[in-house]
């Protein structure tokens, strides 16, 4: 299987078909190469590696997104974290810990996003 095909498979398993189908439908001539890159690189080359399980990769992803303030991506990856086996309580613990390292305002914004996503899914 090519890195694109492997990446597409993991991306769908982690982010869900609905999200990936939306991203595919929204792809334009301008964004196609970027969609191809994230599928081959982030999903095909990194998320497919056996060295860490997906639950652990979700923990790392959540914290990197909070630390850099990427709140839209955070919403996506809170859903992914649930799919990868983190519980709502574990996501709460991760976000509490971000307050120490990224500051309380960053954690506050992250909690607002996670609360919205978890409430939509009926997890809180």
């Amino acid at each position: 299987m090519s890195s694109y095909d492997e990446g597409e498979k993991v991306r769908r398993e982690v982010l869900g078909d609905a999200h990936v189908d939306r991203a595919a439908a929204a792809t334009t001539g301008f964004t196609a190469d970027f969609q191809d890159l994230i599928t081959r690189y982030a999903w095909g080359e990194i998320w497919t590696r056996p060295g860490l399980d997906r639950r652990t990769r979700s923990c790392i992803t959540l914290t990197a997104l909070v630390a850099r303030g990427h709140l839209e991506e955070l919403a996506l990856h809170v859903r992914a974290a649930l799919r990868n086996g983190l519980t709502a309580d574990e996501i709460k613990e991760v976000l509490l810990q971000t307050a120490v390292y990224c500051g309380v305002p960053a954690a506050n914004s992250a909690f607002a996003v996670a609360q919205r996503v978890l409430a939509e899914d009926g997890d809180v």
Partner: protein
């Protein structure tokens, strides 16, 4: 919540110091000692809040907490001294060098390669000091 209302400032500090010593070993204590003549209160707050409150919570395993911290320190950038302490801590709580390197590789996707490179070179220094090179 694990913070009973009756808990004193000293209680939280004492619990934090116990957690800090267990997780970070000498590295953490050195940081606290080095603050004694400039800002002992910052040392107190690191111990009492980060370790006495957050790290002592039962909701995540120590191994998961160190991975979470490594991800943030890498993403924030400029936290190489803290990465040094927490890469040691990650090893102390049972993460392998391979898992630590894998976590930093993963972070490149979300924080960019320069930050992953900086963090990986801190890991190389720590692994070298502990006789853990080469990895793999």
């Amino acid at each position: 919540m694990n913070t009973a209302p009756a808990e004193t400032r000293q209680d939280r500090f004492d619990r934090g110091l116990e957690v800090l010593t267990r997780v970070d070993g000498e590295g953490g204590q050195k940081v606290i000692d080095s603050l004694a003549d400039i800002s002992p209160e910052l040392g107190h707050q690191v111990v009492a809040w980060a370790f006495g409150d957050i790290y002592d919570r039962p909701g995540l395993a120590p191994r998961d907490r160190q991975l979470v911290t490594l991800g943030m320190l890498t993403a924030l950038g400029g936290c190489e001294p803290q990465l040094d302490v927490h890469i040691n801590a990650a090893l102390n709580v049972g993460l392998t060098p391979e898992e630590i390197v894998e976590a930093l590789l993963h972070s490149a996707v979300y924080c960019g390669m320069p930050k992953a490179l900086n963090a990986t070179f801190v890991a190389k220094k720590v692994f070298g000091e502990r006789g853990l090179l080469p990895v793999g």
